[in-house]
Symmetry: C2
Subunit: 183 residues, 2 copies
Amino acid sequence: MAREMVRQGGRSARIQAEVHRTVNELLKEMDRGAITVPMVAERAGVTPSTIYRRWGDLSDLLADVAVARLRPVADPEDTGAMRSDLEAFVLQYVEEMSSRVGRQMLSDVLGTWEGDAAGQCCQFTYQHLETMRERALQRGEQAFDVSEAIDFIMAPVVYHILFGDREVTPDYCRSVVRRFFRT
Amino acid sequence: MAREMVRQGGRSARIQAEVHRTVNELLKEMDRGAITVPMVAERAGVTPSTIYRRWGDLSDLLADVAVARLRPVADPEDTGAMRSDLEAFVLQYVEEMSSRVGRQMLSDVLGTWEGDAAGQCCQFTYQHLETMRERALQRGEQAFDVSEAIDFIMAPVVYHILFGDREVTPDYCRSVVRRFFRT
DNA sequence: TCCCTTAACGCAATTTCTTAGCGTTAGGCG
DNA sequence: CGCCTAACGCTAAGAAATTGCGTTAAGGGA
């Protein structure tokens, strides 16, 4: 579910916003597994059936909220050089994703294939990397390949966040970027 | 849930096996989202309350089944050389994980933190890589670092399976291994 | 501007799933 | 062989999910 709204103004948009806000609020207060649709509905001031009809079920709703939250609001910071741009980006990404809530958002996104949530989030990353690549080109730097940056930088970081097999520290992030430039 | 059984013989073990078998069967027949606890219970010939008590809820059960299925039954094939060992391993891993069911198992494992399912699966990979490393040492090859193999080989492959942003073809797998040895 | 169409919502009844109490069965140990 | 109790089955109560139907209010056209 969470399809694009046919009607995007007024009541429908208000409810969507309110439900999203409520989910984010609950996500901070309690464990993801403790959240239920009726609970969200009551706090948001709507009836459960509204949520079920619009989003399908709880997983789809959570995935939809996650995608909305992961959707970038601005271009990645311009630090003046390609390498520091990449470093800043991955550090911020990890900062957001390795928290409890961030980790849960990731698995919510990966656990559903409604509206291709995973693909969408992936696109956000691609777009950011592409922006950084073009910036590098304009500076006259020897630019990098976006899909290689995914493989060398993003993939390891995401892997360790998801599987929890090692701390994803800032130092580790920097070492990953360093390794990328030694290819 | 899915804790280690206190009693590991007889009825308890029979039920666990039957429930696992049933889940795997259903996973082949229908979409993961269509499966319910009562459905599993009926087919397995047990009451729903047994499943709820033992596994907690559907996600925990699915994660438990996934971990059991991912648990290796044998050491990775010995192909005679380190590089071909790694290639064979990643090819088989991808073969299993990039199917619809495999993809679902992965997200089930990542979507729960009961019994550290994700960590367990990760351990299986580590163990296999470690086996291959030791084999390489015995052959007198210059062995690789296991955690680097994770970052260079497994992470990209898993990333693309999960996010679905590109086909993980055998050619791609081989190119990932090739890249690893050019470090 | 006002009306018409219909997407989206609220309400309520129904169905299905989940939880919990309690008695029963059957491992595992002395 | 018999005791202890983990684990199961049954059942009832509670919560969540689904569905039909009437109502509200976007959005488009006269």
